[in-house]
Symmetry: C2
Subunit: 344 residues, 2 copies
């Protein structure tokens, strides 16, 4: 049986959203085994309240928590028994197969690096995220594409970008079921010579790879359109892009709301467009996606959004279980090992 360790304390919403996610899984008769790591009293009370029984949901007590505003390194040093370190330890010791946390991203990555091993060929891990696109992707017609890195590694060497391409391709195959995902580097032009030196070098190396369907560079224009399945960029750029898309969604909702508040004519028209607007809102609703994978460790780590509700936590746990059951780590390792010597 697959077991997922969940850092139950890091979320902005407290333990209740975490336990609600578990309750939703139980309501669906999910057979996943869950280890909730956090304050035993709070968790016991929340489980009782939500009707989650303790036969397939175990609590591991962790008395302290890293908050969103803590500096990761200092916080982990000061709190060796904090929930994210204990949760990573539970996985490292083999008591669980993968890790889910809605906590401080830096602390999740650092705690993972203290307990897990980076795969061969990985200098720096990547944080991946899906972003909404107009075009559909893969056998399930997913209205989103994968992007990495979105903030784990601000500045990348060519080798980092190559490793992200390999890992993103593996993730897309295993989780989205796309046989031969189209992978591209995000740059300031489609030509092979465009971009920073790291991008130009990565382009040259990826163009030779047989195991990765590298389609070249894409530009900013292609991101909302979604012309490829996996977009590779350095963490600084990925962070800006992802937050910009979130901002565009916010602005669209605000404009719609303003129109809605002011004019009867708009009110009627927006009412008629409601199903279309809902579709767009669904596109930019991260809650349904279930979190961002951190790739490059020998265990899966899923970072759920800090503001995750029960449904988002449920989805994050399900994605984590999928990565285990479908052998993501092995697939990533195979991709990384396919690199010619000296690259990635």
């Amino acid at each position: 049986m697959t077991t997922i360790a969940v850092d139950a304390m890091g979320s902005d919403e407290g333990v209740s959203a975490i336990v609600e996610g578990v309750a939703q899984l139980r309501a669906e008769n999910s057979e996943l085994s869950i280890v909730l790591v956090g304050d035993e009293k709070l968790l016991t009370a929340a489980m009782y309240k939500q009707g989650v029984r303790d036969n397939d949901t175990r609590i591991v007590h962790a008395p302290t928590t890293v908050s969103m505003n803590d500096k990761p390194g200092a916080a982990l040093d000061a709190m060796p028994n904090c929930s994210i370190l204990r949760a990573a330890q539970v996985v490292a010791e083999g008591q669980a197969d993968a890790l889910v946390s809605a906590g401080n991203t830096g602390a999740v990555i650092l705690a993972s690096s203290r307990h897990f091993t980076r795969l061969g060929g990985v200098r720096r891990v990547g944080l991946a995220a899906v972003h909404p696109t107009m075009e559909r992707h893969g056998p399930h017609d997913d209205p989103f594409a994968l992007m990495l890195d979105v903030g784990a590694t601000l500045q990348c060497e060519a080798g980092d970008l190559i490793a992200f391409a390999a890992m993103g391709s593996a993730y897309s195959q295993v989780i989205s079921g796309i046989d031969d995902p189209r992978v591209a580097l995000l740059s300031n032009g489609t030509e092979a010579i465009k971009g920073t030196p790291a991008i130009v070098e990565a382009h040259r190396a990826l163009a030779k790879r047989k195991d990765i369907n590298f389609v070249g560079n894409v530009e900013g224009l292609d991101i909302p359109r979604g012309s490829v399945d996996v977009v590779v960029c350095e963490g600084f750029v990925g962070n800006i892009v992802l937050k910009m898309l979130e901002g565009v969604g916010d602005v669209a909702r605000d404009l719609a709301k303003t129109a809605y508040d002011t004019k009867l004519r708009y009110k009627i028209a927006l009412g008629m467009l409601a199903s279309g607007i809902k579709k767009v809102a669904a596109l930019t609703d991260w809650k349904q996606y279930g979190g961002a994978p951190i790739v490059g460790f020998d265990h899966t780590v899923i970072k759920a959004h800090g503001r995750s509700n029960g449904r988002a936590i449920r989805n994050a746990i399900k994605v984590a279980a999928k990565t285990v059951e479908r052998g993501l780590t092995k697939r990533i390792r195979d991709h990384l090992e396919a690199a010619p010597k000296g690259e990635a």
Copy 2:
């Protein structure tokens, strides 16, 4: 009288859009003096056709043109009499006050650097552009903000970012009429310690400046919202951001068109929303803005979009004239000289 030199050959639309822009200015009784640099025969024919007389519009013959796909350096070396080099020369020799071109951006920058001098404290010039925002800016309620660099300098040192902040602030004062423009660095978090080493260093230096209203870092979220007047970033990031916004506009138009084509209900609703949709389209319509200033030289250079129509060319020429009449170069020089020794 202010005189503007216009590279009349670089545009994707040929000389006709350029001459149409001049014809529009004449129809408005503009007193600007224009020097059109390009193929004399083509220009004479186009001027005749558009009814532009030659008393205040002079032609300087240039037999060759750099195309959009040419490599700038090689093209300029091979064509010493090409229109962009001759147009820059006309300005450098004092026959005109500022330069406008809709040609190959790299060639415009390179031709300018061959004929103009970089201002003291400017290691690399910046290409600035306005982007649409939800919030309004300045005394004219402009629905856009300024961003630089958007592609002239892919990777920046701290000194470049500081110089861009100073030059962007001056441009915003002189052209948008904002007394004390809010200037921010684009980063992956608002805290002073967030970002690449160059951003962190620039943040520290800008925080001490009395002559620049530096409000700190903004994130990707703030770009569509438009919470500041001037966004400073390195050229690679600015290029991605600007093209992404263009892509979002394209996708919105496509989605609207699809809806329009398919369902009567949508058709009626979209008809009712038409004025709102036009407002959004106007926001993302670069044609009305009149081009992107290249800042850092001792003369104003305005890069118009390659697909500029007559109206866009007219606007670019008017903006160029405004920079001359309002003393942009002097203002930029003052800002650059206000930097403490050793910075910017």
